[in-house]
Symmetry: C3
């Protein structure tokens, strides 16, 4: 097992090494180009806060699994970023600045963390790392086909903030991998939360909420950033209010996990249209996404899990999967001059690649064992 790990690291190092050829420091005097790149780096930091602190703590709701969730987040990020940078340095997809490459790598890591949310608690730490090594190449494949349209097959799509290629891809990959990985025995073990863990989840959720506009605006031109940022915040306001109303309407009482999760659905759904919608449309998208997501968590999740014979630990299907596809479809209505068939092709291809890639990856990971003792820090951590 460990030999595999060392080999993986060695490959990573060599690949990152090849990236270094494209890289040279040039201390020329600072002009507007340098200033704009520094502003991009700043958004890269915000995204990193979402990846580690946001996703990490959002997953600290499983009782006795806090150390594992946070360490898994650390490892998933630390494996996937160099992996992405190494592959992208082979220059599949045209001219980009160094910091743009890095932001794209962070997008890949975000999608990976979403996928891992479906499997949380049922993998060993080294299996999370293998998941990362398998995920990134498939993610890049989808990016090349759908977003860069490298094969001139899809056309121009609207997905600036990644509703389709980040959120839906990650969620569907995760669920497909869960199909390969979940055992009947595992499905009998309940996932317990405890009282104090809600605060951690809400902390993670708030970190994601706060920095989400930087995620969506990361690669947007400076002139379009203010409108994009305000759109994202409005959509998040909409989904937060809608989540409260839906949660209390459906369940009678508020469910704190609904708030921590579905409040973010507006950010997921606005991704495809964040730089095209007006504020009214952003509010509508946010409200709808909040309702869809809460209905998913409150009414559908159990049925989905039974239907697919899986466990979706963090409910990524209802936070990232369905709201992501909803956001991608909403773009057809909202974005002037958007080629509807391109957008539909993009969604269809993303679903297909994610399903196939997830099934394959799950099968490969299952070769390293399907644990029976799950959701417990004690399996891998000193007390």
């Amino acid at each position: 097992m460990k030999k595999t790990l060392f080999n993986a690291i060695a490959v990573l190092v060599l690949l990152v090494g090849s990236a270094s050829s494209a890289f040279a420091l040039d201390f020329k005097s600072s002009g507007i180009t340098e200033v704009l790149e520094v502003q991009q780096y700043n958004r890269a930091i915000h995204i990193m806060a979402m990846l580690l602190i946001g996703f990490g703590f959002l997953m600290v709701f499983v009782k006795n699994y806090g150390k594992s969730a946070l360490t898994a987040t650390f490892l998933l990020v630390s494996v996937s970023l160099p992996m992405y940078l190494a592959i992208s340095s082979l220059s599949f997809f045209g001219e980009k600045s160094e910091i743009e490459h890095f932001i794209l790598a962070e997008f890949g890591a975000a999608s990976l963390l979403i996928a891992a949310g479906a499997l949380l608690g049922r993998l060993k730490m080294y299996q999370y790392m293998i998941l990362g090594l398998l995920f990134i190449p498939f993610y890049i494949l989808n990016e090349v086909v759908v977003l860069d349209d490298h094969f001139h097959f899809v056309g121009t799509i609207a997905d600036t903030g990644g509703s389709i290629i980040i959120h839906a891809f990650g969620a569907i990959f995760g669920i497909a991998a869960a199909v390969s990985l979940s055992t009947p025995h595992q499905r009998e073990i309940p996932i317990e939360a405890d009282a104090t863990s809600d605060r951690y989840s809400l902390l993670g959720s708030m970190v994601l909420w706060v920095f989400w506009p930087s995620f969506c605006a990361a690669l947007v031109p400076a002139a379009a950033i203010p409108a994009t940022v305000v759109n994202v915040f409005i959509a998040l306001c909409g989904s937060t209010v809608a989540t409260y109303i839906a949660s209390v309407s459906i369940r009678g009482k508020i469910n704190a996990a609904d708030i921590a999760n579905a409040a973010l659905a507006g950010g997921v759904a606005i991704g495809a249209t964040c730089d095209h919608a007006n504020h009214f449309e952003a509010m509508i998208i946010g409200l709808i996404a909040g309702v869809i997501s809460t209905v998913g968590f409150a009414l559908l999740q159990e049925k989905q899990e039974k239907f697919h014979k899986i466990i979706d630990t963090c409910g990524v299907s209802n936070l990232h999967g369905i709201p992501g596809i909803f956001g991608g479809l909403a773009a057809i209505v909202i974005v002037d001059g958007l080629d509807a068939s391109a957008q539909l092709k993009a969604i269809a291809i993303t679903v297909i690649i994610a399903v196939v890639a997830g099934l394959i990856s799950g099968k490969i990971i299952s070769l390293f064992g399907k644990p029976t003792e799950i959701y417990n820090d004690e399996n891998e951590f000193e007390d």
Copy 2:
């Protein structure tokens, strides 16, 4: 009750919709104007971190009321931002960029969260939302009269960081609302804290401390930002040290709640002079504010509450009210050429509007019931 909510949301949506007319994306090449707006958006993100994570966790000190405090924060922010944007789009107060509008909306949300701190634990979730819907129009009224001097009645004042119009207004509104809302029965129920919650409060406090300079400098011209930022940090250093000394001197031992709260009083008080004071003056303001605030928490709070027959759950009177007014008055001494009568008029009008608005709003909210079971997540949340 819920019908009211849906109506409120509908109005919000329509109002935000009207805002969208003023909004068009223009992907022109990036110049210094665009760069400066991106820098403003960046400060808007920092302020949002203060609103959700900072204020949210600072309020997680009430035992068994953590989910409620964090969810209330989520809802207050999510209702007030679109509300402010919608009203401000009617263009009462002149020409501002989109991101400046948004930062002003965040200032309103901050003031609202301060007001809510006085009522924390004694409102139902939908009452927090009604509070937000009522607060924002009054807040904008005060802003139009005092800060924009729309009626040419006040004159030019110094309040860049909102000592008067954000902190004092919010605190006084909250206390006035508490006068309308607190019942004798409620005043007999002690507010319990528990050991672990101190860590959350200190987390919230630290988030506020770290990003406070971005709050004060949010709308300051680029050239004045470095001095403003350093002033705010120096004032916070002053109040933090002064709080420790005052806390241990008055009480014999340190009180962790003093540290979490009064350490921030320097930020409250420097608001009015952050872009005018020199560093020496900033340190003096911070030291005095820390002492005033700690004395308030340690010696005055109980008397204040008895006098007004209220509960001030978070002690906003002593963190935001008195230090805010102190900061506003300090400007008269510090800012060269400031019209003292304008500054005094600004404080007086703010106090009057806040008292009247708070009393009215509290009365309206009380129509929706005064809960007897309070400070407990179980009333509204699934366990």
Copy 3:
């Protein structure tokens, strides 16, 4: 005791006052210079998040000592920043902008927090403040001699991110102070951690990880920031993966404290070369630093403590000391045209000044008493 404190504060205030002479607001129209300074201020905010939230929560692993650790962090920062600004305003070291001065002050505060990590739990709050007042002048002395090369004795060195002058200096100062301060009685008292505190430590660790690139790039010219930032992230990825592998290989199970600490060693070690290394070299430095640091925590710490007859509460020797010196040495191999003898002199002088200064400071602090009751909030805090 308190008289001492008041005197110290008075001196601080006067010194900061003298700083104000150099300071005047100039509201000229914004150009590229102002924009670049605003970008520096933004990195100053990120560093402040590391100082308070990052270092603060990383130290909340000692059972029952959370309030103390966070309050000590607050006080150390609040004393050291004005102290540094006051001394630096006397203009020892040439022309710098206001925000550059402030960032250098933050670097000093970071080094102080590292030093304090060795002593955590065995000082009273006012002793932490005295530590801060003693540390900063020595830190500035080392900065003037080694980094500014004021006496033309060292030559030009590579230490942009402070591997030597921030991390190694702070760690060695702290250990030397511990030699003066630790008693045989104290060494018999075990440092207990508890289960929930791991989450706080990991939160602090993640905050440090996320903002570390802003720390290293804080004073780097805009054109070099993208490459510097990516290097730091790659080094952190390397040390995180290496820490996991080393922890599980050495101990059989993962140790959460290893992850929270040694995962950051890549950031410590890349400091000296962050703006010169290529990405391959950054990954190698990160991997080696993670292994060195984990080996230190897992195998060496107990021996080090016995050898020096000290306690190193947070293990700063193995997180900051050894990885810092390793980073400084790595620059000799990596940085083209670097004068190896200058770099070695810089390390040697830093070690000597830190040892002497730490021993002296520890002795002075010990005049104020060596507490026998330690590691317990109850000694100084209301419950």
